[in-house]
Amino acid sequence: MSAELFSLFYQFADVFAFLILSAAGLAIVFGMMGVINMAHGEFIMCGAYVTVGLVNLGVPLVIAQILAALTAGLIGVAVEFLIVRRFYKRPLDSLLATWGLSLIVTQSMLLIVGSAVRGIGTPEGSFAIGGYTFSSYRLVLFGCAVAVLAGLYIVFMKTRFGVIARATMQNAAMAKALGARTGRIYAISFGIGTGLAGLCGALYAPTMTLIPTMGATFVVESFVTVVIGGANVLLGTAPAAVFLAVIRMTLNASYGQIIGQIGMLFAVILIIRVLPEGLSSVLVRRGR
């Protein structure tokens, strides 16, 4: 019995980790500046490629993953500075601009790197409970997802940067009037967002085939999590991921991956009919 319970938890943890890791970066960028970064998937791809490249050069996996996340974060800051910065008053245009960027990056990668790169294989290690065998790495991923949530909570609730960032989120003009350097806050937040995307790619790199279009695998999950979560990252994203993970897990178990994804999309469309502003609006209202 406990083995079955653990198996259920394991399946939930797997989907939950995927949703949190792929959505966290997107959610921060959206929550902070109302911008949907359409190149989000490409930052994930960047993290994955850097990780695999470094491991193939002999760098230990964990260090390669950290470096990959940092790389994606730095590129993100550059992208913010060169492109996104111009469009803070026009969120739709920033979406189009980043989509253009996404097309350029994916297709250039296909031209330069070609379609497949030698993978590095999932780290060994599994354990058995009852009659079931579980991969340890999947639990590591779950641990990372929880750590990301905890990290975001600490950064945004306990640090000076977090206070200023939340003030900027609430009212950018006012925060600016009070002396916050909103430009720098935006650049750092965008960097954190893309760094988290890079981390997602780095963490999943060992488990999947690397192709330049791999970003697309993540974008649906990250989009729907952000749509359901609403504008408040801290309050919305985690509950949204729990909610979607339960639906996804149930459907995956009985009908397979395809129905799981379709069912998740239907759930999202039903939810927006009832709660147009996402889960966080309800939670915020309750909290008052």
Partner: protein
């Protein structure tokens, strides 16, 4: 009637514009007399996509609804045409298949649109939800390789796509080559004229009013949701028309014409051309498709990189669109040929835009 054609919602008015229009139309009509049949076939191929672009122009430029789901409805209708044509057999039934598949796409748009619009989804989220639906459909169709995935005798065939449906035909006369080309030209003229009349009508007034300020429009007694749904169904239906024609033209359709990067293409065409005007979209999309097709022959990736660069450049340099910008310049510089009301309005429009940027 003529007032609707020449109304305030569309640039390009008056004698000079319509003279140009007829000259272009005549050139298009005599083109097959001078070109070989391969080129005519190619030409028909990129005319297919024009409907999708015009539909997006209506939704995005006039209605303010940025749908990323044009390839969703393209795919729904494209696959529907395949399923219907295979199951109903060839011949005249293919015409029915074409019409029905567009209807199916419009029904799908009605359902998806109902949930989004009545749920109050707008702006960025409208794009995100439509794109999510599109990617999930592409993913789903990619997984249908097994023999258990069939509708009637039509196999979905996963990534390899559905094939073996008949092209459009009347009895045993296949509509292909020049015949298909003339059908396309006729359809484009009809759709273009009909859309011009729609946007210049009372309904069009409410559609643009809703884009400008939905609350104000509602306070004038209009149920804006119904107008938005109508716009979405028409715009998506046009994407469906493109899809059905595409399947019939090549006698196959694959999930890759739904997913990324295909889903981005209509956005690039319409953004580059100038979303706020039908004529600009018509001209710009045609030019882009022509250019894209020419480069694709050498390298598809390069063509797509270029498309991405064009989208980025449009947003950064000419957010209202390049073709529209050039068109406005021409109208403004045209010596002494300024319609009385439009002149100052146009000047103001240009000024407002420069204020924004």
């Amino acid at each position: 009637m003529f007032k609707l054609l020449d109304g305030p919602q569309t640039l390009g008015r008056g004698k000079i514009f319509w003279s140009c229009f007829f000259v272009v139309l005549v050139c298009a009509l005599i083109y097959p007399l001078f070109a070989d049949s391969y080129d005519v076939g190619n030409f028909s191929y990129f005319l297919i996509w024009i409907f999708m672009a015009l539909g997006l122009c209506l939704m995005w430029g006039y209605g303010g609804m940025l749908s990323f789901g044009q390839t969703f409805f393209f795919g729904v209708a494209g696959y529907s045409y395949g399923v219907l044509a295979i199951n109903m057999g060839g011949g005249t039934a293919t015409i029915a298949a074409l019409v029905l598949s567009v209807v199916v796409a419009m029904i799908a748009a009605g359902i998806l649109g109902y949930f989004m619009i009545w749920g109050g989804i707008s702006g960025i989220f409208f794009g995100i939800v439509t794109l999510s639906a599109t990617l999930v459909l592409a993913f789903f169709l990619g997984q249908t390789a097994g023999p258990e995935w069939h509708i009637g005798t039509a196999r979905l065939n996963g990534f390899n796509g559905m094939k073996g449906m008949d092209p459009l035909a009347v009895r045993d006369f296949y509509i292909e080559g020049s015949a298909l080309y003339y059908v396309m030209i006729a359809l484009i003229v009809v759709v273009y004229i009909a859309l011009r009349m729609l946007v210049n009508s009372g309904i069009g007034n409410v559609i643009v009013a809703t884009r400008e300020n939905p609350q104000r429009a509602e306070m004038l007694g209009y149920d804006v949701r119904k107008y938005q749904l109508l716009t979405f169904v028409i715009g998506s239906g046009l994407a469906g028309l493109s899809g059905a024609l595409y399947t019939s033209w090549g006698q196959f359709i694959t999930p890759s014409s739904i997913g990324l990067p295909a889903a981005a293409m209509p956005i690039v065409w319409v953004a580059f051309s100038g979303r706020s005007d039908l004529t600009a979209t018509l001209v710009g999309s045609f030019l882009l498709l022509f250019g894209f097709q020419t480069i694709t022959v050498y390298s598809q990736q390069t063509a797509l990189v270029l498309m991405g660069a064009l989208l980025l450049a449009t947003v950064m340099l000419a957010p209202q669109g390049f073709v529209l910008g050039i068109g406005k310049l021409v109208v403004d510089r045209w010596p002494g040929r300024r319609p009385r009301d439009a002149g100052p309005a146009l000047a103001d429009a240009v000024r407002l835009q420069s204020d924004e940027t």
